[in-house]
């Protein structure tokens, strides 16, 4: 194995040459599945994903902005700025709360729908498609739809005959926006939970029934543990995906009221628009670190949970 790695590496500079001809000298794998099939993907990914992320470890420490003609190293100035004006902690707190609640709502709604629509009937198949519709509508459009619903003179207040400023609370609007996020993505979670439910062997449910387990007992003792892989996937994608949220927040609140829904990407967008590129980059680096700090323990923890159940 190890020498395969070494030889393929030496082969890389002239990948197209000698394929098949020097069969005797190359390991079989290099002939049958040559590296150059993977190289374009690796090159594009490295150039437009990895390199920007590496640059993101340098530019936050400069004064790159639209106000300076050149870029100079300034150390931790940008981080001091965002820490001192309180935006750093606020962005971290808002984003984490947002991600947590969005994951809870998305998974809660998704699991509920999956359990309701579990049997494979035409009725259920139709409504699965209905609940998948929000996934197909762009997040920005979703945001505008809910703005129209929840505005103070919007449809919900009109329907209920109330006058509640749904999008004007510095505490509850964030929660409401995460409900909207959950609504937008619940169809995807539902599909994955449905697949998980379908993967449970019928004999297992039969056995539970023979042992006299009711629906609740069957759910908690058999189905829920068997849903572990689906849960891992759903929770991970929901948490990580919602830390990168922008569209729904921008379209419903724009980060307000009083910056109470200003997640990382909203902040970056606003500060970048003011020409403070390095400061925006500093926030982007913090987002990167927060995502890594959440993702690694999360994936390890959920994987371990799968094995325990």
């Amino acid at each position: 194995m190890a020498d395969t790695a070494i030889r393929t590496r030496t082969q890389k500079p002239a990948p197209a040459k000698g394929r098949g001809r020097k069969v005797g000298r190359l390991p079989r794998a290099a002939v049958h599945h040559p590296w150059w099939f993977a190289l374009p993907a690796i090159a594009v990914f490295a150039a437009f994903f990895l390199v920007p992320n590496l640059l993101n470890f340098y530019y936050p420490f400069t004064n790159w902005s639209s106000y300076h003609p050149d870029i100079a190293f300034t150390g931790l100035d940008n981080f001091k700025t965002i820490a001192d004006d309180g935006s750093l902690l606020r962005a971290i707190r808002t984003t984490l709360v947002y991600a947590l609640l969005a994951a809870v709502f998305q998974n809660g709604f998704g699991l509920l729908l999956a359990l309701l629509l579990e049997a494979d009937s035409r009725f259920n198949r139709f409504f699965r498609a209905v609940f998948f519709l929000p996934v197909l509508i762009s997040a920005l459009a979703t945001g505008y739809v809910f703005q129209a619903l929840l505005n103070q003179d919007g449809a919900v207040n009109g329907l209920l005959g109330t006058n509640i400023p749904w999008l004007g609370s510095t505490t509850w609007t964030l929660v409401l926006v995460t409900v909207i996020h959950g609504w937008k993505w619940m169809g995807l979670s539902m599909l994955i939970y449905l697949a998980g439910l379908k993967g449970i062997p019928g004999e297992m449910l039969e056995a539970a029934k023979c042992d006299g387990a009711g629906p609740w007992r069957t759910f908690w003792s058999v189905r829920w543990p068997m849903l572990a892989p689906a849960l891992t996937f759903n929770v991970t994608t929901a948490l990580i995906g919602s830390m990168n949220t922008f569209d729904i927040v921008q379209a419903t609140t724009g980060g307000g009221p009083a910056a109470s829904t200003e997640v990382f990407n909203i902040y970056m967008f606003r500060i970048f628009g003011q020409g403070l590129y390095a400061q925006a980059s500093a926030m982007s680096l913090v987002l990167f670190l927060v995502v890594v700090a959440v993702a690694i323990p999360l994936v390890i923890g959920l994987r371990r949970r799968e094995q325990l159940l």
Binding site: T4, F37, I42, F45, L117, I137, L149, I192, N265, V292
Partner: protein, 296 residues
């Protein structure tokens, strides 16, 4: 309700069997009713609001509500969205960015996934781990702008395509690698015995077998790229090359259009229809692809 006829429990003839299947009678009728209620409130109301508002004259749409339009004018609203909101150009711009991105993500991703799935060495594992890191890591959007400016790609379609491709390659590589690992190697070996080159094996064996996962990856990447506004803001900005979501944002936030909900929703409808159409056409493949890839 004819819908109850479709529930599985009615397929079981006797009450004894029904009891054995554990379906409580209240649940038998309660479940479809509950589903209808949730669907109506959670999906029906928002979609209804979009549909009726996009057909109202501006005066009626200023305070959005669920009433039917007193005066129907969907035609002129959609016309305004086309003329004032530059919908056709946005549509074309979106296509010119999304279609090449999806094609690149699929072709490059399939090639890489084949190598990652079949070869076993530390270097391959490392390259694979690196390539799927984009599943979790956020793209560094600010420095992407910096890099694109230096490459002369800022504000261009190739720049946008490169960014989307880089962002979504991880997803396609992850799903495709898992899928190829489940394809028996013997298929390839048999073709190799007959003297097929790697290119030929890839094109004639691997790609056709990948069709289900390609369907899924296509819809997911298309969905993300088609509705993306955040990265488009940074890379394309407004102006000549603005995509549909950028135009929608402009329509919704410009002072000129303030309270022009009828135009906003006409835009929302036009923007969503292509994705809904694609989903309806390829529904079964998409659903099975999404579910089989995730739970593995």
């Amino acid at each position: 309700m004819s819908t109850t006829a479709n529930t599985p429990s009615t397929a079981l003839p006797t009450s004894a069997v029904r009891r054995a299947s554990g379906v409580h009678p209240a649940w038998r009728y309660g479940r479809p009713a509950l589903v209808l209620l949730i669907a109506g409130l959670a999906v029906g109301v928002p979609l209804w609001l979009v549909a009726v508002t996009s057909a109202k004259p501006q005066a009626e749409a200023i305070t959005p509500n669920l009433d039917l339009p007193r005066q129907w004018q969907p035609g002129s609203n959609y016309e305004d969205a086309v003329s004032q909101g530059e919908m056709l150009r946005g549509f074309l711009n979106s296509l010119l960015v999304v279609v090449p991105s999806v094609a690149l993500v699929l072709i490059l991703g399939a090639g890489a996934a084949w190598v990652f799935a079949r070869r076993k060495s530390k270097l391959v594992s490392a390259a694979y781990a690196l390539c799927i890191s984009g599943l979790l890591l956020p793209p560094a959007v600010i420095t992407i702008v910096m890099e694109l400016r230096q490459l002369g790609l800022a504000g261009t379609r190739p720049g946008m395509i490169a960014v989307y491709t880089g962002m979504y390659l991880s997803t396609s590589i992850f799903f495709m690698t898992g899928f190829i690992r489940a394809i028996p190697v013997e298929l390839e070996e048999a073709a190799r015995m007959d003297g097929a080159t790697p290119q030929r094996i890839f094109r004639q064996i691997i790609l056709p077998l990948l069709r289900p996962v390609i369907a899924t990856a296509t819809i997911m990447v298309m969905l993300y790229a088609w509705s993306d506004i955040f990265y488009a803001f940074f890379v394309l900005g407004g102006g000549e090359k603005a995509t549909l979501p950028l135009n929608l944002y402009k329509v919704a936030s410009a002072q000129l259009y303030l309270n022009n909900w009828h135009l906003v929703f006409a835009y929302v409808v036009v923007m969503s229809l292509p994705m809904v159409a694609i989903f309806l056409v390829a529904q079964r493949k998409i659903v099975s692809g999404i579910t089989s890839g995730a739970v593995k």
